[in-house]
Structures are given as structure tokens and as C-alpha cells.
Symmetry: C2
Subunit: 397 residues, 2 copies
Amino acid sequence: MKRIITIAAALLVAGSAFAQQALVPGTGIVSPEINPDNSVTFRYYNPKAITVQVSGDFFPTERVTFEMDGRTRTIDNPGKADLVENNGLWTYTTPPLEGELYSYTLYVDGQKMMDPSNIYQNRDIATWTNIFTLSAEKGDKGWYYQVNDTPHGNVTKVWYDSPTLGKQRRMTVYTPAGYEKNTRTKYPVLYLLHGSGGDEDAWSDLGRAVQILDNLIAEGKAEPMILVMPNGVYFNQAAPGVAVNMFQPTISNSRSQSTVEVENSFPDIIKYIETNYRVRKDKNSRAVAGLSMGGRQSAALSRKYPDMFGYVGMFSGVVPPAVDAEGNDKALDAVFAAGPKLYWIGCGKTDGVMKNSLLLKEYCEDKGYPVTFYESEGGHIWRNWREYLTVFAQKIF
Amino acid sequence: MKRIITIAAALLVAGSAFAQQALVPGTGIVSPEINPDNSVTFRYYNPKAITVQVSGDFFPTERVTFEMDGRTRTIDNPGKADLVENNGLWTYTTPPLEGELYSYTLYVDGQKMMDPSNIYQNRDIATWTNIFTLSAEKGDKGWYYQVNDTPHGNVTKVWYDSPTLGKQRRMTVYTPAGYEKNTRTKYPVLYLLHGSGGDEDAWSDLGRAVQILDNLIAEGKAEPMILVMPNGVYFNQAAPGVAVNMFQPTISNSRSQSTVEVENSFPDIIKYIETNYRVRKDKNSRAVAGLSMGGRQSAALSRKYPDMFGYVGMFSGVVPPAVDAEGNDKALDAVFAAGPKLYWIGCGKTDGVMKNSLLLKEYCEDKGYPVTFYESEGGHIWRNWREYLTVFAQKIF
């Protein structure tokens, strides 16, 4: 009984407090709790609720088909489970889970809610979810996505001038641990591009690029490198919150329909980085990779500038071959004529992009071009993009 | 009817989507909407809800008293208003509001929820709320807190070595627009400290320090300066999310009980900044200010190192005079013997810190020390701390 009273007192405060900073103790409930067997327990206190569910990407998905913008679309919704109530405290425990970064939300009487006991949340375009990382053993995915006791790189939100686009724009730059001290070292650079609806915060936040690089570098599995994560929506200056007007991101205001503007303006980014950071400036010290729209942009950038990048990564996004009457894709032929050290395609088995990814792979193989194809489970999801970055970053420089 | 159908289709997707990044369109509802008369309309779609309320700091507060940790505490809860339902769409419009950054949440059938149509959220210790900025006219508070079409400074999350505390620690560093280009300019530095429960993200996020400085500098009202926002909890390395383990912040794991460790380790921070940034290194090019616990730390730092800072700001937090048998506070006398250019105290009329703030002011006035006392409405709240920073930053360097 004492526990419930404590909880109720905590809720009185937590439900209200955005006035008195020093008086915000949270709910007094531990949720989620990662148990010794790597099962996860969710807890939520609400004596008045009739149903409480947890929806998370650790459950099998349910495919939903719907119409939007005149197109039939499918989406794989995360599954749900019911929490069970006892004295107002609702609980549910998952089966043991593998190491991963997981997303979830609660549904209380059918309404989506954040877990009030978990401050960790992440935004994917217009959708907020709670998150947690779980590492079952050192070296599993969750271990690479969590913060470990390693040296950490610095992360800067940089405003740079893009004369081509006629505006100041913002990007995220990661410099590896030691960059400030090793003043005679020059570093290679990975340009890492987000997908439709995303922004320059996407890879460093939900993409865990900072943790992945910190951990890979600390383990000696990736070269110390600079990561540059620009905003790939050419008509936006910056992510919501740091752009003029508090715009609400949607597909239409946060995607580029074509890659042309990104291709034309990309040298502005490279010029800024190569002027303001201690970097190596040869082709084999530059890599470009991206997810979905950013994968298409990476493919397009390598075709537009075959001598710019020694490493090209396309994560769930490619430019499929466009062959002429003789069966040649001349832009793609030029990419391989320039001899890339790595041309890497990653795609999930159930991803709609698989068809074009295979077309690109087959074209390359028919021509005898060295292409690396990486197939994973699942579809067009962040879980895959984090995995692809972890694999790709170990293969470059 | 068409509108409701569109909304329902949007909800089908938005309520589920953390799988398919490209398919997250938001709710299709505009909330909040700032109207031409600066009233604000909140909208929320839910045909099944019985009551929907909005709770926000634009309403008069309701004072609640409760017991915690054996102490009687009071908290000023934000007021609430009922939304009215029509065809499942709930709405409420405020009276016209003044320029400010506002926080709010929804209560649906009594349960606190984020507004699903507003991606803008901010965390204060363990409490998430939605936020929006409103500017009624150029130069009002909301204008200084929003992103305007000005040059923007860069923001870096820096890991530095603290030999005194025996660990790597993280801080936020703002460099003003032009820092990269003006390679022969050296800048003054404001060290800006957060309160209990906060971390190195607090001032740059909810405190709007980045926007305040961008806007003040663009208007010619503040000197271009570097802002250094360290983590003031000496036993933590970093904010939740970038620290090892996903700890849930509470008062006990996110505050320092004493200022001693901050005093002893502060030279590590200054050394890092003065080694790695182009800064002026004289006393009158250094300022220190902080809110609540950070105000106490600022006062303590000025007493420990009277020759270190030319400007001292205490926002809702002071070290009250501790007089000896002769009626002298020797540490405070030493501060003024060293001739600070500014010794600034800010406090809200209903803030519990007012008593000690007045004791400090009176001691200084009795001694003939130049002290600036700034009294504002309200209590121990971010609204005041943003205002104090805006005023203080115009008076230094």
C-alpha cells in the first residue's frame, strides 16, 4: 500500500510539473525494465484505465494496406500485447529479446501515449515513440547502438553557406575521439544521407551513427573518420526546431522529389568540410552512403561525380540501371571505369526497393563490376539502416 | 465529411508508424494554430473521448502543497481548460497571448498525452511537454526565443577531460555566427550553468540560449560571444541518452548537493575552452551565470576565484551572505575587492529564493558594493530564466 501511495504522490507532481524545475521526480515506476534473461517488463500505473496495451517493434508486424495521395500503400504496423492490471499497476513482460534498439508506445483505452516512466523518446518524421536499447552480450547490435565506456567523438550542428542553393543550411558533423588532440592527423570523411521526411538530425539520433562510430572505432573495427550528415531536402534549411517557423514535418515538406539539386549543391558541402576540418581530400578518403532517398542520392552523386567518392553505400535506396539501345547505362559504366574501392548495396528481403536493388546488382554482375550485395531480414526500417551503417563503416578507408 | 475521412486515414498511419519511415504524414490536423489576434487554437481528434483538456503555462497557475522526502513542498501547477467536441474533433481557443515560449499537454479522459499533431516537445528533467513559440511583434520575448532569419551560431557537444573529477565529461559549446570565418577574432566567453535535475542540454534546449544569442547578436544588442554550457552535476558524465546506461533523471541522480566539486573542477573546463577555442583570456572577457543550482554555483565560483570572472549572474539562485562576528562575509568582500564589472541577481517575486536574494542584495548595498537586482513576476520557472539570460547577455563584454 505504501508503494501505491508513493506512486500516487509522484504522479501528482509528474502530471503537472513544468513550472518548478527542481520538483520533477518522474513517476517512481521503473519502465521498461530489462530483466536478467533479457525479457523486458513494461509498467504503467492507472487505476481508471480499462485496457492498456504496449505496441513495439519487438513484436511480429501486422501488414495494413491503405490509400494515400492516390496510391495504394502498405505499412507494417508493430504488433501489440495487453498489460495486466493489479491494484492499478499494469504490467507486461516480453519474451527474451535480442540486442537491438527498440521502439514502443502505450495504448491506454485505445489512445496512443508515451510511457510516462521512460524519458527516452525519439522522433521519426512526425511520430514520437519511446525507445530503449538492450544488449544481451558485448558486440551484439544493442551494444553497438548504446553508449559504452569508450572515448566519445564530438558532434556539431554546423551552419554552412550553400551558394548553389542560395541559403545558409545546417548539417551534423561528427569528429572522432582524439580529433582535437591529434592536430597533425588528417581524417577520411563519410557523407551520410537521410531518407524522405528526415533531416540532419536523423542519422545522429534514431540512426545511432554517433554511438556506432564511437564503438566501432574503440574496438578497432573502423578507421577514425569524420561523419558528415547534411540535410538532404534541398528546399529546407534545417530540421524542425532550428528552422524559421515551427513547421510540422510531412512527406511533402521533408523530401526531395529529385536528386538534381542535391547533386548540384553537394560540392558546397564538401568545400565547407575540406576548408574547415583536417581531412584527407583524395577520392579514396571520401565515402558517401544514405538510406532510402539518401541511397538514391548516394547513387546519383557517384554517377554525377565518378571521381569524387571511393566508397558508395546504398541502403534501401538505389538508382536502378537506365540502359540505352546498346544495353549500357553510361553513367553507371563511368562509375566503375573510375574504379571505386567499394560499391555496396544493402536491402531487406521484404523491402519494396529489393526489385530495383536486384536490377542494379544484376547489371553490375553482367558487366563484371565488383558490387557487394547485402541482404537482411525485414523491410524499409531503421533497424536495417543501423545494421547497414555498422557493416559499411567497417569496410571503408 | 471528407475532412474527417482524411483525418481518419491519417490517424491510421500516424498511430502506427515507426516501421516505414517514408509513410508518416502526421495527423493532418493543425494544432496548435496561432491566430491573427495571437489567440491559440488547440485541436485533437478522438470520437471516443469523454473529456479533453489542455493544460498550459499560459493559464493562471494553481498552487498545490504536498510532502516529499520529508519536506512540505509547493508547486504551481499550470491551469487547464476544456476542449469542446464536434464530430469527434475537439477544439479550444485561448485568449490572445503575449510573445513567449509556451508549454502545454493534453489530458484525454484524465490521462496526460502529448498533442499528436505537434512534433515540438521538450523535456524538463523527467517531464515531457509540447511547446510552441508565439511572437506578437518583433522584439518581444517570443521573437527572441524563436528562430529568425538571422545568421546562426554553431552548437557542439564536446567531450573534455576533467582530471579533477577523473572522467571524460560533456558540455555544449555555442560559437557565434562568423566564428569560422573571422579567424583573427578572439571572443569573450559566458559560462552558463543549469539547475538541479538539468544537464548540458538544458540551456540550449528549453533555455533557448542559442536562439537568444543568435537574435541578440544579429540585432547588435549583445557582443558576439562563446557560450559554454557544462554539466553541473559533478558525478554525471553527460545528459541522459549520451551517458552510459539509460538512466532516468530524478532529483537525486541529477543534482549536486554542494558546490565544492564544481568549484574545484571548473578550471578543467576553462582550460579546455581556452586551449581549443579562439577566446580572450582576461577576467573581463569571462562571465559566469546560472539558474537555481547553477546560480549558487556561479556565486560560489566567483567567491572561490575572485579574479576569474568579470561578470557574475545569479538567476533564482544565490549564495546568501555568511557573516562573521564582525558582520563581514570575507569571501564576498573579496569578490568586490577584485572589482567585478557586473554582479547581477535576478529573482521572481513569488520565488522561494527571493529571501536569500534580498539578503545578498542588502549585504552588498550596506557595504556600498555595486549590485544589480532584477525582479520579475512569477516564481522558479524557465520563463524567468530565459528572460534573465536575455537581459544579462546584453550587459556583458
